[in-house]
């Protein structure tokens, strides 16, 4: 149902888009070890593993959209649980800045979101991805992709 909606939304312009939605997941190695467990749905996942979410610079988040992502999800450790003390705080500030840029350039800041997840909570990560796919049904696929 959701996928039909995604395809319907993406066909607004008249072009026949039949591709799956693509979600790029930036994840701190401590928060989520691998994105392999998130694969298998009717969407494409590109996982980018990082030793700490604090190295997710603005340019990387923007490049993900340029490379064809319909949505970007950043998974970080809960507040006060960062192995590097302030890594997730730094990430949050960067994500906020990039959301603003995405709004300004017309892609939409809502396509980029950050979530705090407890270490190894794959069920939560999967819920986040499913929620993002459902939201893509409302937004349609990215025009930049």
């Amino acid at each position: 149902m959701v996928m039909e909606k995604v395809h319907r939304m993406s066909n607004k312009g008249g072009a026949a888009h039949t591709r799956k939605p693509r979600i790029t997941v930036f994840h701190c190695f401590t928060a989520l070890e691998d994105t392999a467990s998130l694969e298998g749905g009717d969407y494409e996942i590109q996982g980018i593993k990082m030793p700490c979410s604090s190295i997710s610079r603005e340019v990387f988040l923007l490049r993900a959209f340029e490379a064809g992502a319909d949505a970007v999800v950043v998974l970080v450790c809960p507040v006060n649980s960062c192995r590097y003390v302030q890594g997730n705080i730094r990430t949050e500030k960067r994500v906020t800045r990039v959301k603003k840029i995405l709004d300004e350039i017309g892609i939409g800041g809502h396509r980029l979101n950050m979530f705090n997840i407890v270490q190894g909570d794959e069920a939560a990560a999967r819920r986040i991805i499913e929620q993002t796919v459902a939201e893509l049904g409302e937004w349609g696929l990215s025009a930049a992709a």
């Binding site: 990082m50 030793p51 700490c52 960062c82 590097y84 003390v85 890594g87 730094r90």
Partner: protein
């Protein structure tokens, strides 16, 4: 003085950013460059500058992990915003035997052609299993010659893979009376071998053949892979056939110097058949490195076979058993069985499977091999990550199918150049000037098992726990 053999390396850049070990994490928010002494500008390896340049060229989000772990930025940052972390991709690279460090170091050697140097010091165990339980005796390193082993001092790494005449006869005037037997020599005790898996496209195999030809060694390749494209390198190819298929490749065998035939029933007949096709042919017999290998080697040493090519598992272990012994023990078994029967000089032994580092070459020779065969390091030199996705029909993450011939050849030649230089270093330090003299030279090595037994056995008795650690 004879011309020295050397392999000329040409720096060959990787096509994809290698998966490095370390990353610099900037984890604090209280830096605004206000101290005006930013360590990012002072990194001697230009890591921060390279990262900055990379951002503008990357097509997808892709981190560079090229930090050399010198800790300068961590130590000198006035705000203390840096920390070093290990790249999570690096942790998942390779497996228990083909460790991330081995793969990473092989990439570096294929890139530069020089001996790898680790910057953060060695923090591994004192001894480990397998080849890591052997130490070469480098006592001669204390008195090097004036310009060293890369200067005028001559160290010969050449080995023969053909039979040698047992004795020579001379005329009264001192000239040679016996007929000169043909000799098959390779300039370093390493032969190349077609890997059992991987994206083995035509260009990948051609790159291996071209590299073998360039350094003067041999490539053992399945005869069915041979196409006319390989003809420029025919002198350096060893087609691998079986007793059922060799007749089909008669033309190829006629143009080859050596051929490998798989061990099996009816081998004698096949050997006669091969000699009938090409009387000057050198013959290698390929057989598995299992518990029967030593017995079979003794049997084959009395035939016209020049070389035995014994292949263990990719993890340097005996095959065909649930409790496999390590390659080093298997080499010693086969070598000593031949020595015990006084027929070691009649045959040459090449061992393959699990040769992952240059030091494994020297240690295999010390255990009794004449030469070793390498397969997976060739793939790694071409940037293979040993992820084995190709075995599941998935796409190769480094697009091995798109390798260019010259690039692939240069990478493999660079790897062999680095290994050759490391072999020279070990031989020079051991005081051995001939690779042939290194064969079975256990006196130039120390074995952890023996040292532990001799030193601590009288105090603590026999080791009760297997393994080292």
């Amino acid at each position: 003085m004879p011309k020295k053999y050397s392999i000329h390396a040409h720096k060959t850049d990787p096509r994809f950013p290698p998966i490095g070990k370390y990353a610099t994490v900037e984890f604090r928010e209280d830096c605004a460059g206000s101290c005006r002494q930013c360590v990012k500008k002072r990194c001697v390896f230009h890591i921060f500058r390279d990262n900055f340049t990379h951002w503008s060229t990357m097509s997808e989000p892709e981190y560079l992990y090229t930090c050399k772990s010198c800790y300068r930025c961590v130590e000198e940052c006035t705000k203390g915003i840096f920390s070093l972390a290990i790249n999570p991709e690096y942790r998942t690279l390779g497996d228990d035997y083909w460790k991330a460090g081995i793969i990473n170091s092989t990439w570096a050697q294929a890139h530069t052609g020089s001996i790898p140097v680790s910057g953060a010091g060695y923090r591994g165990p004192f001894a480990a299993e397998g080849f890591d339980s052997i130490w070469t005796d480098m006592s001669e390193i204390v008195r090097p010659t004036r310009d060293g082993i890369h200067g005028r001092e001559y160290i010969n790494t050449m080995v023969e893979l053909s039979k040698r005449p047992m004795r020579l006869r001379f005329n009264p005037d001192g000239t040679l009376a016996s007929e000169e037997a043909p000799v098959l020599e390779i300039p370093l005790p390493v032969v190349l071998q077609q890997p059992a898996f991987g994206v083995l496209s035509k260009t990948v195999l051609l790159a291996m053949a071209a590299a073998a030809s360039s350094v003067g060694t041999l490539l053992f390749i399945k005869a069915e892979e041979y196409t006319p494209f390989f003809s420029p390198y025919a002198a350096h190819l060893v087609p691998c056939v079986t007793k059922d298929t060799y007749a089909r490749y008669a033309d190829l065998i006629k143009g080859s110097r050596m051929v490998e035939i798989a061990y099996g029933p009816g081998l004698d007949e096949a050997l006669s058949g091969l000699k009938a096709i090409n009387p000057d042919l050198f013959i290698a017999v390929g057989l598995p490195l299992d518990s029967a290998a030593a017995g079979r080697a003794g049997e084959l040493a009395r035939t016209c076979v020049d070389t035995l090519h014994l292949t263990g598992s990719d993890y340097g272990r005996e095959v065909g058993t649930d409790n496999p012994r390590h390659l080093k023990d298997m080499i010693r078994d086969v070598h000593l069985a031949l020595v015990g029967n006084r027929i070691r000089h009649r045959i040459n032994l090449v061992f393959s499977g699990g040769i992952a580092l240059a030091e494994h070459v020297a240690k295999s020779l010390i255990c009794g091999a004449d030469a070793v065969g390498i397969d997976l390091p060739l793939l790694i030199a071409l940037e293979c990550r040993l992820c084995k996705r190709c075995t599941q029909g998935k796409r190769c993450p480094v697009k091995l199918e798109a390798v260019e011939l010259d690039w692939g050849k240069n990478r493999i030649v660079n790897l062999l150049a680095a290994w050759h230089n490391q072999l020279l270093e070990v031989m020079g330090a051991c005081g051995i000037r001939e690779a042939r003299r290194m064969r079975g030279e256990l006196g130039r090595s120390m074995w952890f098992d023996d040292l532990e037994r001799d030193s601590f056995g009288p105090v603590f008795g026999k080791r009760k726990v297997t393994g080292i650690g």
